[in-house]
Amino acid sequence: MGTFAFLRKKSLVGDAVAHALLPGVVLAFMLFGQKSLWVLFPGALIAGWLSLLSIEAITTYSRIKSDTAIAIVLSVFFAIGIVLLTHIQQGQYGNQSGLDAFLFGKAAAMLPRDIYLFFAVDTVIIFLVLLFYPYLKLYAFDPEYASSVGLPVKWLSFLLSTLTVLAVATGIQAVGVVLMAALIITPAAAARFLAGRLSQMLVWALIFGMTGAVGGVLISYSAPSMPTGPWIVVLLSIMAILTFIFAPGKGLYNRYLIRSGHQKKITDENIVKALYHLSNRGGKKRVSITELTASRRFEGSKLEAGIKRLLKNNLIQRTGNKIELTEKGFQEGARVVRLHRLWELYLNVRMNIAEDHVHHDAEAIEHIITPKLEAELIKELNYPVTDPHESEIPGIYQNRSND
């Protein structure tokens, strides 16, 4: 059931379909007078289909936006369903109690016969997805391209909506109207953070969906008063939130690590650069913290942490309360300054930017340029000696002699 990661930008449509199934179910019950799923299921399908069509119609034939259209269809269809349901509760249709299960979901109340039906429908869904996988994939990512290469986009959209309606109709008995939306959206959203490809995303969504379902069922078995559906959803959401935070690559925590790593690198390089400038200018190598901050503004706590890291990496050494660059640190400072001046020169010569406008840009880019790019720059600028401000670019002369 969790396979419907496809729905990407239309995830709330699933919610609408879930609500809209109600009138179909109730009408089917009214017409045939029985609660068998074999009767109710087609009713649900037709209603779900109608709801999708109405959303389409409203968005194409008026200026109403899709989110409003979804909300309208959802609430009005649902209201019709409630009207019908309360109408039959007034009497003449006899026993209708099982219909409530469609609203809140009673996974435990399902009969073996019903499960066979769901099993069959699920098999059909999976089969169809596998069969049309390449086309669906193309359609899901870029419908305009799909139509331009001659795929029958209308049919694909039809297929996709039918599959959605089918999936929603099977799930609704288990978890109920409202929470069905979660089964569609949550596993797919979580999977999005773990997977780079559609096929991986489908697999992850399946894993999430199944874990959530099994966990929910276990909880409702162990504590008798616990409802299954809501627990499935809560478990799914918790898993999803954990993936948002901890997923490698796109997760929040990982992005935070990368960002703070960058910031640390920038602080360190700036400290080394400031020390390099100080030691080059007056020939004075030992610097106190006050002198350092006088030459360049640092944030106190960041500076402290940066100095600690640099000491650990043997880039600077400390005597008393003064610090100085080690040989390794001196090289590093020269490298940063070289990159800075190279970039200034490049901007000035190749981009025709005035030499008093290039400093800021270089200040940012000096932390990003890779050794390979550096070599390219040097070659491109024909082994320059001075930057636009007539300062020497350190380290190039040696490079040339090495070649």
Binding site: L12, L74, I80, F104, V234, A240, L252
Partner: protein, 296 residues
């Protein structure tokens, strides 16, 4: 008299929700209204457990807190975790609603909140929820609550008209003028939460959405200014409340659902009307265009 109170309360609910809904639609946040209406459930249950009554200040506070929490979570998922907007809405409200349902079944022994009430409210019992002052009957409590809410909503719209107007139509322009878009956003969301909670008893969690979205959407189709849209919304809301009552009466069904269906009927009529009008407009224009070409 019973009918009168039901219709009056229903009308007030419809007008309140509609007025708020106007701004939700203009901000393309219709589904956020849906999300809030579901997500206040845990707040309502928690407040109910604390205070043991349904019409209390704590209840309002609890729900308002959860309403704000919902908007906050949606923003968080959207901005920080870079999730799509619709997915973040979907995850947030299903999660909170699931927690709410679990709480209901966990404490079902001592909570007088049943699932039917959550679903479609019990506006039919409104006339029996009377308040008395010095032994004289002042009418049902929900009616007065809704009147108070109407005053609050009207106050927000009248005094905040400029801010709401500008922030709804052009956020960056509003920011340029120095209007705090964020605080208007949260003010509106708080209004949505409070209105949803107050209407919750009467119409239930899901049908609130119908009242929030459908009348303003119909008004949106045929109005050319925000003024007209607000007035038409109130009119449509009132008509659907009255019409819905008699529809439900005639067909012996849930009254609140009947009102929502009536709102849906109004929408369909307006929708068909505008679609038809547009088609005619296009046709006549094509004709005059062809004439022009021939004369040329």
């Amino acid at each position: 008299m019973t009918d009168f109170w039901i219709i009056a309360t229903g009308t007030l609910v419809a007008v309140n929700c509609g007025l708020i809904g106007v701004f939700l639609i203009l901000r393309r946040m219709a589904m956020v209204g849906d999300a809030i209406s579901h997500a206040v459930l845990p707040g309502i249950v928690a407040a109910y457990l604390i205070s043991n009554s349904r019409n209390s200040l704590i209840m309002l506070l609890g729900a308002a807190v959860f309403g704000m929490l919902t908007t906050f979570l949606i923003e968080l998922f959207y901005k920080r975790a870079r999730l799509q907007a619709d997915a973040s809405i979907g995850i947030t409200f299903t999660w909170l609603f699931a927690i709410g349902v679990i709480m209901v079944s966990l404490f079902s022994g001592n909570v007088d909140l049943d699932q039917d009430c959550v679903l479609y409210g019990d506006i039919a019992y409104v006339p029996f929820d009377l308040i008395y002052y010095n032994e004289s009957n002042l009418g049902p409590a929900p009616f007065w609550l809704q009147s108070g809410n109407l005053l609050a909503v009207l106050g927000l719209i009248i005094f905040g008209y400029r801010g709401l107007f500008i922030t709804s139509f052009d956020e960056s322009f509003a920011r340029g003028l120095g209007i705090s878009t964020g605080s208007w956003h949260y003010a509106l969301m708080a209004a949505v939460s409070v209105t949803v909670v107050l209407s919750f008893n009467a119409v239930g969690a899901i049908l609130v959405v119908a009242f929030l979205v459908v009348p303003p959407a119909a008004a949106y189709l045929i109005s050319k200014s925000l003024h007209a849209m607000i007035l038409l919304t109130s009119l449509f809301g009132a008509i659907s409340a009255i019409g819905g009552f008699y529809l439900a009466d005639w067909w012996s069904s849930s009254i609140s659902a009947g009102m929502a269906v009536a709102a849906g009927i109004i929408f369909v009529i307006v929708f068909l009307f505008t679609a038809f009008r547009n088609a005619v407009w296009r046709k006549t224009h094509r004709k005059s265009f062809e004439k022009y070409e021939l004369a040329d």
